[in-house]
Subunit: 210 residues, 4 copies
DNA sequence: AATGAATGAGGGTTCATTCAT
DNA sequence: CATGAATGAACCCTCATTCAT
């Protein structure tokens, strides 16, 4: 038991260090971008020695990947495809919950989201592909919902893919603004506005009014 | 006069060279991003010597800036604030013309637009600020239009800034998709779709239908 | 007495550990060379922690030195200058015994001998000097024997130092081949061949034939 | 013509620089071994900047390889398999010429030969394999000659491979001594001694005396 | 105007060694 | 005794920029 305790403590310390490095690196990546953020700066900010960095991460790429991967994961678990089964909550509510969850996460770490919204990586970097894949995934979710919506007469006729790109773009644009304004905001209220705008753009008017 | 002629010829040649470098650099920036695009590659592609590059541009930053500046300028001249004076063309038409002009320019150089939509620069770089300034400028144009629209009862009540960010985002999102799809498209048709989506998001329904 | 016993046990364990480290290190040095063999690999192979290594050896150099020193010592005790006193065994037999003893040791640890025959150390490293000193020592032994042989008319006239270098070289060359062939061999037989070649090179023919 | 002249001059200068780097590097490799010789030291000794080094060689490995490759090539062209056709010069003379040529080359660059005789590379390094391959090649030449000699009754019965290793070893040993003694020597005389020793080790006595 | 050899600051990474636990 | 996290000097290499020709 004593051993377990000591080990647990050591592991906790390790995790703590790892997090410190991640945080320092994340801030730098946001401030300067991937390339301009140097290991030298990261370790200075994290208050560790050069070699220590490499005890926790295999490379500069690896930290960056770790940061992005975590963020994308957190986003992915918050974004749930709309369930149209009977008995499921109304679609508008589901959308609202999705956006709210993302906004809440955004509030907890604005820098991180900014990193994803405007990462600025060499287009051929593996990590850029990862981020793109995430957004493409979300776009597909939206496009599929639109197609379904059209089939049941809820959504006006339109090019599902293009419109999905517009919807996602509008949300990204809105979020970007919220982050960069550095002001606090009411999650529920903002989520409503983001969704309201997007929905009006596609919903058939009669239904919206009813 | 003879001198003037020779000078003109020399200047024409100079401009030609400059353009070749710009073109080579632009492609590389798009393909690899700013950092990964090296002077070595640029001059190889442009077919010039190392030193020659610096006869035309002071630095790597300078080429990039030149490229962005040109592109932004081309965009700016195509984006004209909506004129609401009496006798002016209907706002919807003006919008359509704005978007159409931008889309046409986009068709003439997809890579360039992609560079602006997703430049991937150190966030603190002066050029990044320049690009941001451009988008902020457009956003303000939109926000102002929205405010006016609200004041005359055409636009539903909303947060003008946030909504402007959403509108701009939706257009950027749509354009990004169009570029990356590598397909050709009908400018007028697409412009209508982009505007339609954005307008529905803000216009008061009664008016839209009329 | 109890204390002594415990102490003895402790010391035995210590020696055991030391030997494990030496063995792991030796293999690595042979496989990868001195520089490419890292402490990390050594301790992994020895199954000990980083700090533990430094409880047994002061530095990476020190392990290497230990290994070489041991090997050289083992070789030195097996190489005995030829005794030409009356009543001593015949010189040819003494040589044969010397070589046989070395070959036997070689069979017990090929890797170790290879490390000495082709160590691959910075030429200015103290350990490189140590190995060189050993070979120089052997060379001197041979040269002295040659000089003596010449003085008693057994050995043809020749440059003793150069010839000694050739003799030593021939034995090293032969041994190197034997090690790298990875085949087993008959010690006595091979020893005869090694000596036969070297002796023919220097012995006066009449005597050899008689 | 003017262009050609200027180009020729430029190329001459380039070659000169390349050679300066090679020389500086070679000396350092000999003094300190491959690993301990740092690029920093090489460029300091060559009197050039860091980047300049990489204008002439792609890597540290590449300089080393260049040096070894050149040396091995020079050795290879000097070592010619013994021609036993009728009308060819007597084998002993051919051997003498081979060894003399090598010794002469050795005199022109002792350090270089030392680098090959005692390179000290990680056993798994590609360059180590290259050097080994060279020696193996020479050994095979010798072994083949021995086999032929045995078949025509000139050479006593022996294990051709092992004996070849001994012969090569004896020559290497002799050369190593000559290099490290830093004294000058008479090529023809030394060549005779090297060959004499080796031949006596294998030739059937009757024939040798005749 | 054009060239390309030369520069050197700075990049990411490794690894022998130390020391608090 | 044993541990392994922490250290930082030193490594090889890249690349934007300069300058003599």
């Amino acid at each position: 038991m004593a051993v377990t305790k000591a080990e647990a403590k050591a592991e906790a310390k390790r995790d703590q260090r790892r997090r410190e490095i991640l945080d320092a690196a994340k801030d730098l990546f946001v401030e300067r971008g991937f390339h301009s953020a140097s290991i030298s700066e990261i370790i200075k900010r994290a208050g560790i020695a050069r070699g220590t960095f490499y005890l926790y991460f295999n490379s500069k790429d690896a930290v960056f990947e770790s940061i992005l991967e975590l963020a994308i994961h957190e986003l992915e678990v918050r974004i749930i495809g709309v369930d149209v089964e009977e008995g499921a909550p109304p679609p508008a509510l589901q959308l609202h919950q999705n956006v709210s969850r993302v906004l809440e996460y955004m509030l907890s770490d604005r820098a991180l989201i900014l990193l994803i919204l405007a990462h600025g990586l060499p287009p051929d970097a593996p990590m850029a592909l990862r981020v793109d894949a995430f957004f493409t995934h979300v776009e597909e979710l939206i496009a599929r919902s639109l197609s379904y919506g059209m089939s049941v007469g809820l959504v006006r006729k339109c090019d599902a893919e293009l419109t999905a790109a517009q919807i996602l773009g509008s949300v990204r644009g809105g979020m970007r603004r919220l982050i960069q304004s550095h002001e606090n905001f009411e999650v529920t209220e903002v989520a409503s506005q983001l969704i309201d705008f997007a929905l009006r753009g596609v919903i058939i008017v009669d239904r919206l009014q009813s």
